[in-house]
């Protein structure tokens, strides 16, 4: 929270106010933002003590302190299978999203034509269409072609959902590309492949990486589509957690949630680092 607090404070400071007023303002702002931050984070953090319970049931307040729920999770082949399925689904969805999203972003870059707004709207629509609607449509389609219950089907459906994330980040990184750079490369003798390799690729690389992290996270986390398309051999981790919480209330759920929280934190930090580097790269001085 600390760094983002700092950014908010400096951004909202009007220039030229006295330092004393600044301080009062900063304190007031901090007073407001800290509770909001706590409010946003606390519900997620609650799973951590719950994972450390001694009991065989998930409960609050937990009986401290044991790591048996973690051991149970790693010892249960069903849960491990689900984890692997989730990874496979997310990785394939991410790869498809990277290819399609980056290609779309590049294809639309610098082009002006009537109806471009509509095209972009269609590409971004999976973000705004209600997930249940998308899930139902996916289910009806894959049922028709007898593909329900296969992790690849879930992955394909997810790739549609996460492509906009890559598209948006690639588009953003292309706005930082100096058109003179492409012309320079051509004037120096670069054919299309070399132009791509030396100008477009370095410009969009950070965008693709950032988009890929997003895409992976969203697919890994997605439960509605995965629930519709699940099968005995295609149960993703969130789906298993969801079903499990209805039947056996095992603290393994809290353990997994805790692990995922850790992974998400790492991913967030990595993405922030990439964004910083990307920003530095796209602004040559």
């Amino acid at each position: 929270m600390a760094p983002s607090d700092h950014i908010i404070v400096t951004d909202t400071e009007p220039l030229g106010t006295s330092s004393r007023r600044n301080n009062v303002g900063k304190r007031l702002l901090l007073l407001c933002t800290i509770p909001i931050g706590v409010y946003l984070l606390l519900p997620s953090l609650v799973v951590v003590p719950m994972a450390l319970t001694k009991s065989q049931l998930i409960q609050f307040p937990p009986e401290w302190i044991s790591v048996h729920s973690f051991a149970d999770y790693f010892g249960d082949p069903q849960w491990i299978d689900s984890t692997i399925t989730s990874f496979k689904v997310a990785v394939l969805a991410m790869i498809i999203a990277c290819i399609v999203g980056a290609a779309t972003g590049l294809g639309l870059h610098g082009k002006q034509f009537p109806g471009k707004g509509v095209v972009v709207g269609i590409i971004l629509s999976p973000i705004v269409i209600p997930l249940v609607v998308l899930a139902l449509a996916d289910y009806l389609f894959f049922a028709r072609v007898h593909f329900v219950g296969n992790w690849v089907a879930i992955s394909l459906a997810h790739s549609l959902l996460v492509t906009p994330y890559v598209f948006v980040t690639v588009q953003a990184s292309l706005t930082g590309l100096d058109p003179a750079l492409v012309r320079s490369a051509r004037s120096l003798g670069a054919r299309s492949l070399a132009v791509w390799r030396y100008t477009y690729w370095p410009a969009i690389k950070p965008g693709i990486l950032a988009g890929a992290i997003f895409a992976f996270a969203v697919s890994f986390d997605e439960v509605v589509i995965a629930l519709f398309l699940q099968g005995p051999d295609a149960t993703t981790l969130p789906v298993r957690m969801f079903t499990s919480i209805q039947y056996d209330l095992t603290p393994k759920i809290a353990a997994i949630a805790t692990l995922l929280l850790g992974v998400a934190a790492v991913a967030l930090v990595a993405q922030a680092a990439l964004a910083l580097r990307g920003g530095a790269l796209s602004r040559p001085r």
Partner: protein
């Protein structure tokens, strides 16, 4: 199909690369027109020749077609009509990557992810030269622009001046037919511009490359060019040496765009031996130089005389010059190394600038003064602006 570097090394050439101090091949732009979908021409019938080793500037305000012309030479725009010849061969329809020009853009557009040396080597990589050859010639080029110790730096770690040298080195390393510079200094402040202008000239002198330069800055054009093509609304209005353009402008636009001038309408004119005797609206007479290369002016249209403020003398005795007019001082500004007067005469206001500080004490506001000029100091304009 064109491999200019290989061609340079082996095959005989149409136009030989001349002496040690001139590199590049003759570039001819012949009757080039450019229009976009709306059918109005942004470039109309532009022709010029850039000889090897020469520095030619396309000078004009924004929208005059100068950058479009340069982009057609570079290959990023396709001419609607006309030819662009390099060493006698028409390249107007070739893709930019198949021409052999070094192009320098505003902001320099260096590859941010590559080192200085890699940037410079790039053109050689694209020509598929062996790695070691690329390295050797890249380093050689960096030596020429004095950046050897920066070879492994990234462009963003360099100053603006150093980046310009990298851009020039990158554009020069593959021995292009000419260097094309598109307002490279456009975004910089005055002091830095002047330093970098000198640097471009210096590198050009050392390498002997021909340069086609685009700018809207008349001082820059005057300082750097061998010849200047003044452009307006897609046409070249005058193509001459800087001194010729300054001293003998052909149109009011040229006279005003390069430096400051007074334009005096003339109602009658008789010429004899290169000197024109003119009559002003109030009936007084004066002398001026005849337009060089003849006047294209239709008979009976309005004629103009261009008179530079620094060529007008404030006379102590009336017989010093051949043309004399009398006027009243309306404004006086002391600018340190020059004094500017605004004098009302011939029914208009004339700007007169002088470097003689003694006049400051002698001539004050509302004084009657006599102004004079020698016939060679005034120029009768050949054409009017349309």
């Amino acid at each position: 199909m064109i491999t200019p570097v290989a061609g340079r090394a082996g095959a005989p050439q149409a136009t030989p690369i001349a002496t040690q101090h001139t590199a590049g091949r003759r570039l001819e732009v012949i009757g080039v027109w450019k229009s976009y979908v709306d059918k109005t021409y942004v470039v109309e019938n532009v022709s010029f020749t850039l000889e090897p080793g020469q520095f030619l500037t396309l000078l004009g305000p924004s929208g005059s077609g100068k950058t479009t012309t340069l982009m057609m030479v570079a290959g990023f725009e396709l001419p609607t009509r006309g030819e662009i010849r390099v060493g006698g061969r028409d390249v107007a329809r070739l893709l930019p990557e198949r021409r052999n020009f070094g192009v320098v853009f505003q902001g320099y557009a260096l590859f941010p992810q590559m080192t200085v040396l890699e940037n410079v080597e790039f053109g050689l990589w694209m020509r598929r030269l062996p790695r070691r050859e690329c390295r050797r010639r890249g380093m050689e080029m960096l030596e020429k622009v004095g950046l050897v110790e920066f070879a492994s730096r990234k462009p963003r770690e360099l100053s603006g001046g150093q980046q310009q040298r990298v851009a020039l080195a990158r554009a020069l390393v593959f021995e292009p037919d000419a260097l094309l510079l598109d307002e490279p200094l456009g975004a910089l402040d005055r002091r830095l511009r002047e330093a970098l202008q000198l640097e471009i000239k210096e590198i050009q002198r050392r390498i002997g490359i021909s340069i086609l330069y685009v700018t809207h800055d008349q001082d820059e054009a005057m300082m750097m060019s061998d010849r200047i093509a003044v452009m307006r609304s897609g046409r070249i209005v005058q193509l001459d040496s800087p001194t010729e353009i300054y001293q003998h402008p052909r149109t009011p636009f040229v006279a005003n765009f390069l430096g400051e001038t007074n334009l005096l309408p003339v109602i009658e004119c008789q010429s004899e031996g290169g000197v024109a005797q003119v009559r002003f609206a109030d009936g007084s007479l004066g002398f001026a130089a005849q337009p060089r290369g003849g006047s294209k002016k239709p008979a009976g249209s309005k004629m103009m005389l261009s008179l530079r403020p620094e060529r007008i003398q404030i006379l102590r005795r009336p017989d010093q010059t051949d043309s004399v007019v009398t006027g009243t001082v309306r404004e006086r500004t002391f600018l340190g190394r020059q004094i500017r007067y605004v004098v009302e005469t011939l029914g208009q206001k004339l700007i007169v600038s002088t470097t003689d500080p003694r006049l400051l004490a002698e001539i004050a506001l509302d004084h009657r003064v006599q102004l004079g000029w020698a016939h060679g100091d005034a120029q009768l304009l050949a054409e009017s602006d349309d």
